[in-house]
């Protein structure tokens, strides 16, 4: 039976729902804060954030700058992508270098070589120096157990610390961004997105990414069950053999501790299928630093990490 009257199906699909929620968050921050900044590394989550921000303020420009905390352990193609993306949007990019801190002795390289935890101090200094009061991060609650408990608006004290036991309740879509001088708010517009949502959205919106997110041949060696790329900051130990494999990256971070996964996914549609069928979490598969302990991420977040 068909009815002659026009019936509208009035349900947004889940990507439209997530997009609208994120755009609402960007606009709330732009309206209520004086000096927001968006953390941008060229990784896929930050790329999606910038895409959403551009949509939120269209036909105007993105009304805040970008900030990259550069570990110095970068994949060169990601840095090149970052600079292209910044040029295309015309937004100002601030860069804080971990290497500067190591060169002048404020930070020392760790024995395990990873620089992800060393990003915290340059990040907090950049926030203080620029007096940023809202900092957009690409963190998603599906990534990790401590992140699952974080609010969309997450208050940080003057030390940048997250107090998971004393978070503000977050009701409806009424975000409370009140903060005192010296405090700031981390804002996570992708809180409710999963890795698969991000990839489906990248496919739907035809967003370009650094090429290493897709399968390519690369010289790698295996360490702790992960495939690490051969490069200036990631050299094999004596027992480790370098082989060429077809791999892609699920996350992009410090090259010395970000693992590649073997993959046949040559394009975004292959990746969507691969992520939908994966049996390993994004971080479990690719981040050595998150394996340190059950509470590795929680500990870093309490100290002011992303």
């Amino acid at each position: 039976m068909s009815t002659p009257t026009l019936t509208l199906s009035l349900t947004l699909d889940h990507l439209d729902t997530l997009e609208s929620e994120s755009i609402h968050i960007f606009r709330e921050v732009a309206a209520e804060f004086e000096r927001p900044v968006l953390l941008f590394s060229g990784g896929k989550d930050s790329v999606v954030m910038l895409h959403l921000a551009a949509k939120a303020f269209w036909p105007g420009p993105v009304p805040f700058p970008l900030l990259h905390i550069d570990t110095g352990h970068n994949f060169p193609e990601v840095l090149a992508y970052r600079d292209r993306a910044v040029a295309a949007t015309g937004v100002r990019l601030e860069v804080a270098m971990v290497q500067d801190y190591i060169d002048d002795g404020r930070l020392t390289d760790r024995t395990d070589g990873t620089r992800n935890p060393l990003q915290t101090q340059p990040l907090l200094d950049a926030i203080a120096d620029h007096r940023f009061d809202a900092v957009f991060g690409g963190g998603r609650r599906d990534e990790e157990k401590a992140r699952a408990k974080e609010r969309i608006f997450s208050l940080r004290d003057e030390f940048g610390a997250w107090d998971p036991r004393n978070q503000r309740p977050e009701l409806w879509n009424l975000y409370n961004g009140r903060h005192r001088p010296g405090e700031h708010v981390r804002v996570f517009p992708l809180s409710n997105w999963t890795e698969l949502d991000v990839w489906r959205y990248i496919a739907r919106e035809d967003i370009s990414l650094p090429a290493l997110y897709y399968a390519h041949d690369r010289e790698v060696f295996e360490r702790d069950g992960m495939l690490l790329a051969l490069g200036p900051v990631s050299q094999p130990r004596e027992s480790e053999t370098v082989v060429t494999k077809q791999v892609r990256y699920r996350t992009v971070g410090d090259m010395s501790c970000t693992g590649a996964v073997e993959s046949d996914a040559l394009n975004v549609h292959d990746v969507v299928i691969e992520v939908a069928a994966t049996r390993l979490t994004e971080r479990g598969a690719t981040r050595a630093d998150d394996r340190i302990s059950e509470a590795a991420m929680e500990d870093r977040k309490k100290e002011g990490y992303f």
């Binding site: 947004l12 699909d13 729902t17 105007g60 978070q167």
Partner: protein
Amino acid sequence: MPTTATTATTATTATTATTTPTSTPTTRHGHPTLLRLATAGSVDDGKSTLVGRLLHDSKSVLADQLDALERVSRERGLAHADLALLTDGLRAEREQGITIDVAYRYFATADRSFILADCPGHVQYTRNTVTGASTADAVVLLVDARKGVLEQTRRHLAVAALLRVPHVIVAVNKIDLVDFDEDVYAQVASDLGAVATDLGLPDLRTVPVSALNGDNVVDRSSRTDWYAGPTLLEILENLPVADDPGQEQFRFPVQLTLRPQEAARTAAHREYRGYAGQIASGIVRVGDEVVVLPGGRRTTIAGIDTADGELTHAFAPRSVSLRLTDDIDVARGDLIAAASCAPEPTRDLLATVCWLSDVPLSKCGRVLLKHTTRTTRAIISAVNGILDLDAVKIVPAQDLVLNDIGRLRIRTADPIAAEPYARHRRTGAFLLIDPQSGQTLAAGMLEDPLAGEGDHADQWDI
């Protein structure tokens, strides 16, 4: 030949996205929808286990998470992997074996993605349940089949009723521990039905489960052959999503004005002036007559814009930018509403609030009230009483402390386009904020300003 849909099979799980071409431009048929859930339950009802089971049996737990789970369970001397450990995120929670804070979980089936706010049962249960329920399309409440309906069960249901959660599903858990006895389940289900009627809950469903063993969570149990209904996941997959915008009145809180001038992305947009926001309820069409509140100026919708292009109409909860026919003064905090049924702005509010702060109301003199996109100064003019969740009635009170639910009179500095929460979940809700510390003090739900107080001074009109 277009296929004819059979009438009663809404539960088909075909994943194909393009079977029949859609006749309307408003929806992408076959794309998954999003459903927001909140859990509730008392201590030891097995809530973490149920959530773990839901994630595990819907294949949302991945191999490395399972490995970690089995390793930790072994280290603690447990015979089986403890699914509850999947949901305890913080160090203190794992060390103390408790859940402290609302945690958000994500899982998906072919047709639907789920966001699950996992609300702890014991510590600050009202605060957490109110938080989780505020955004929920459905609440999943656990009841221990051996204990039946407890005081706390009634309280959780009262909170769901108060927050106007459209659907409540009660998982009658530990059905294995009552030998899968149909009579026990029937008694609990009947008691729950009576409570639901008392509270005026619009939709309450029950399902007998064993979270520990997985009976009727995702897969049908062979041990409850007397139960012919759907499993918990089947219920969740087939609930209608949220509210039907077609039945609602159009409401649009203005977040900001988009007026790029010379900074516009294209030269054609230098003169652009649009009002950005997320549709809170209802549908808007180009040409609709609207009123801008609290000012009261009437105009019509000249255009509905997104970065992807113009729309002829849009509905909640889409984020858009509206252009108006007349050049009138519109700013953040204003509400654009359907002209035919707009609320009357007022500075005197009657509201039910859940007190969320350790600082009692009596220590908070002047507060900030955040309603939609407007924040204004406010004072509490009177405490009319406090809700006794067990008796579901108002008792006299002078003060509100953490987890109390009370009824207040509030006076605001600016007029508010106030609407009863019962009919407008987005534009009937507000926060009270401490202007000094910035802490969120209370979650508020506006009552019908016309209803007055006299006729239900001690009744709780849920």
